[in-house]
Symmetry: none
Subunit: 207 residues, 2 copies
């Protein structure tokens, strides 16, 4: 397959690097790169790429808005959103505007190439790390890695939502003392001492 790709990210270094990486791949041509949202569509009109790799944060115009306008115009160019955000809101919005893919910057080169191939084949590719099922899998391996129980993980999630032990106790119909014991055990297992560390841990491991 021969695939023409346009890269759009506000970080020129990222653009340059992705271009170098993709151009080493048989069958992929990088036709251009832009770093401002409002440069994307004019460049697409000019170079007619098969796929546009599109960051969300860009000066000039937001990547999702660009993608929406592109799709509304009936363009043949497919769009893969490349984002650092795992945030469900961005994923949901990407699906609403019918973006052809959504990849996290945590993804590997291999995953990017897989996304490009699937999208070229007319399929969509949403990063497997997004969504509930990945959370289930993560939860299983996560439980094993840190020896956390299901209840502990549930409580970690509620702490992450900025709930106090009392609020968590009320929500789960348990004693506040139970919650505090769980938190103590969690802190022991994770080697941490306070709420902020726990929340950061939860964010790092995407609980």
């Amino acid at each position: 397959m021969n695939c023409r790709v346009l890269i759009a990210d506000d970080h020129v270094l990222f653009n340059d690097a992705i271009k170098a990486m993709l151009e080493a791949v048989e069958g992929i041509t990088v036709v251009g790169q832009v770093s401002r949202g409002n440069e994307v569509i004019p460049m697409i009109d000019k170079t007619k790429p098969d796929i546009c790799l599109l960051d969300i944060n860009m000066p000039g115009q937001n990547g999702l808005m660009v993608a929406e306008r592109l799709k509304e115009s009936g363009s043949a160019t497919r769009v893969i959103i490349i984002s650092m955000y795992q945030d469900k809101r961005f994923v949901t919005e990407s699906k609403r505007i019918k973006a052809d893919g959504y990849l996290l910057k945590d993804a590997s080169k291999a995953e990017l190439l897989a996304a490009i191939e699937m999208v070229m084949n007319g399929e969509t590719f949403y990063d497997p790390k997004l969504g509930k099922d990945i959370n289930q899998h993560a939860e299983d391996s996560f439980i094993k890695k840190f020896n956390l129980t299901k209840r502990e993980i549930e409580i970690i999630r509620l702490v992450k939502e900025n709930m106090t032990a009392r609020e968590i106790a009320d929500k789960l119909c348990l004693s506040v003392l139970t919650i505090e014991t769980h938190r103590r055990n969690i802190n022991l297992k994770l080697g941490i001492k306070n709420t902020l560390s726990l929340v950061r841990f939860a964010e790092t491991y995407n609980i």
Copy 2:
């Protein structure tokens, strides 16, 4: 020149792309890539790179803390901070810990190569786009928007580093009661009630 480079960024895609881009350059070898802060120094010990390209935001340990520890240990590996932040505070901190370079992700491939060459020649390279007026202005407008004082912002930063009021008091040679008063005033101004909210605020507004 033959230059061995280690890449450290939490986004694997960025790592993979930078690796591909650098390996196409005569005289540069990528000896490894890591995506967690606490993996950096063990990998440096193992691969002995000439230069480490180091992001600031990484799980496990902050890139600047890693760089500081590296410099303090007398390592021969030079450090170029690669950051999306133009923020003067990061630049200042990079200089304080004697990082060999600081490059924005807005920089181009050519600029990265120039930085690598200068640093290999024993010079430092701080991205020319960095400048006082932008960051000073950003901080000024931030102060105005939330009506925060300089001391309050300083304390917010230390809270973000997970320091207790007592630890902050010791560090600033003030009474813990002073710190608690500042925190009270901060919470009042921002309309928040606890440490987690404060830290999230600080992260959202990039303090």
